[in-house]
């Protein structure tokens, strides 16, 4: 066999089939290995090895009947070898072999094995892990993204991201962060951290399709995949359903919001005909199902807000009063300036721009919105509606300067030059 063997070449159909089969199993296999050893980094190395040898063998020999079992066996051997190598004491080898133990039987089908991915997600989003590392760590552990790709998705320097991930994994191992599903009393809080990390991954991917590297576009799809996974793995919890519904509502508006021809269209000016009805329908069903649990939460509230906006596709109008109430409830839970800003926009729609502006002034007094672009855009809009051209121009100036998205920058530049009836 030579290097030029067409089946082995990176990107050949045989190679892609192998890559796809391997990728599908990644999270489940990593969870199986890591849950036993508490060592995510070692499990990753072992799996990476197994994948490399799979990509060398499968394109030629064919994808095995049970790719998972093949990979698991290879990774398991590597872990045991490593332990033997590190400290030649047989005792250690036996201990690792015992840990990997009977639960991982060579040749067994992974689909018969317990799915530990949720436990792995809990470990990745543990309160002891620094908050900014949680979403990246989860993407890496459950989906197998490499550090470079994660850094691109979160717009951070690759070196810093790699270091951050290494540090988090070391902490899981050295501090022995639990790899179990938390007890019922702790579950809602801990689940929040998992959901929050997924939410962060989604919004980071959605923010700016302009610099649409594949990394960033792919991130939204992967976040939805993770949200589906959590909803499946914790079927009795309402908040995962709320999160999944939220992401689907937002995703349904993707092309209406950012048409392929370019430009940026704010929610209130979108044509509902451009929304994806089937995604909205699915989101509505999920939100109904979540409501059966009769425990409201942040993500259900956010999904409910989206549901009110989505109702415009049938009614033709937006129920702003309902939105004010939902934002109120959300603000009481989060105390977030982002929520408060959105609430002020809804209040302006109900009670007029002067009321909305007074709300914005109150938010600004707390001093955390100075570099929050949507705050300045909202303020500019309200000032323009009140006919205060000078103050509106200043606020637009701030919003334009803070915009990271060229389409939003262009949109705001146009708005700032638009003549207004006063």
């Amino acid at each position: 066999m030579t290097q030029s063997d067409p089946d082995r070449r990176t990107g050949s159909p045989a190679w892609r089939a192998a890559e796809c089969a391997a990728r599908e199993s990644y999270g489940k296999l990593l969870a199986l290995l890591a849950v036993r050893t508490n060592d995510v980094a070692a499990a990753e190395d072992a799996l990476a090895d197994a994948f490399a040898s799979a990509l060398a063998h499968w394109p030629v020999a064919g994808v095995p009947n049970s790719p998972d079992a093949w990979l698991l066996t290879a990774a398991r051997r590597r872990l045991v070898d490593d332990a033997r190598h590190r400290q030649s004491a047989d005792r250690v080898h036996d201990a690792v072999a015992a840990e990997l133990g009977p639960a991982i039987v060579e040749g067994a089908d992974v689909s018969d094995m317990p799915d530990h991915r949720l436990a792995l997600m809990f470990a990745c989003t543990h309160p002891a892990i620094d908050a900014e590392s949680r979403a990246p760590l989860m993407l890496q552990a459950v989906l197998g993204f490499d550090a470079r790709r994660i850094a691109a998705a979160f717009i951070q320097s690759p070196a810093a991201m790699a270091q951050r991930l290494v540090r988090a994994k070391r902490k899981i191992r050295d501090a022995r962060i639990s790899m179990e599903i938390p007890e019922l009393s702790e579950l809602p809080d801990r689940l929040d951290a998992v959901l929050d990390a997924i939410y962060v991954a989604y919004t980071d991917g959605w923010g700016n399709p302009q610099d649409a590297t594949m990394e960033r576009q792919g991130l939204t799809a992967e976040a939805i995949r993770l949200a589906r996974l959590v909803a499946d793995l914790a079927p009795r919890e309402p908040e995962p359903l709320g999160l999944l519904a939220l992401l689907l509502y937002v995703d349904a508006r993707r092309t209406a919001h950012r048409p392929a021809t370019g430009g940026y269209i704010p929610l209130t000016e979108q044509d509902p005909a451009a929304w994806d009805d089937s995604l909205i329908d699915e989101a509505e069903r999920l939100l109904d199902r979540a409501a059966l649990a009769r425990t409201i939460g942040r993500f259900q509230l956010e999904a409910a807000i989206q549901s009110v906006h989505a109702a415009r596709r049938r009614s033709g109008v937006t129920d702003w009063a309902a939105l004010v109430m939902l934002y109120d409830a959300l603000w009481r839970r989060t105390g977030s300036d982002v929520v408060a800003t959105n609430r002020a926009v809804a209040r302006a729609a109900v009670d007029g721009p002067a009321t909305g502006l007074a709300d914005l002034d109150a938010i600004r007094a707390a001093g955390r919105v100075e570099s929050y672009q949507p705050f300045w855009a909202a303020r500019a809009e309200m000032l323009a509606r009140l006919g205060d051209r000078t103050a509106a121009a200043e606020a637009y100036q701030r919003a334009i300067g803070l915009a990271a998205d060229p389409e939003v920058r262009r949109f705001l530049l146009d708005r700032s030059q638009m003549p207004r009836p006063s």
């Binding site: 810093a160 701030r398 262009r410």
Partner: protein
């Protein structure tokens, strides 16, 4: 910590902009500078004239040569810079992302080195 944001772009493309596009670009940079100043991140900054106005000096003493223009023909030329104050690299990257120079060019983020005392 201080960071330099070095803005590279294709100056031929910039020179052939319509007056309207040019005006929008200056408006965007003006707003960006304002945002930097209002947030307390601005230290200094300036746009640079085209590389056709540039002169490079190489070597010291009597062997010094003075050359017209920049050293190498590259696709993107240094067109301006900002010096900003940011708590860390991620914060500096956040500001670089907002720089209108990213629309058609590259913004390089370089930490400022401390001078040995």
């Amino acid at each position: 910590m201080q960071y330099a944001l070095l803005i590279y772009g294709n100056e031929k493309a910039a020179a052939s902009m319509t007056p309207e596009a040019g005006q929008r670009m200056w408006a965007a940079f003006g707003a960006y500078t304002t945002a930097l100043k209002e947030s307390g991140a601005y230290v200094t900054g300036a746009p640079l004239q085209a590389t056709s106005t540039s002169t490079s000096i190489h070597g010291g003493g009597s062997g010094a040569t003075v050359l017209d223009g920049p050293f190498a023909e590259t696709k993107e030329q240094l067109g301006g810079f900002y010096l900003i104050e940011a708590p860390d690299l991620d914060a500096a990257i956040k500001w670089a992302r907002r720089c209108p120079g990213t629309e058609s060019g590259t913004v390089e983020v370089r930490p400022v080195a401390a001078m040995p005392a």
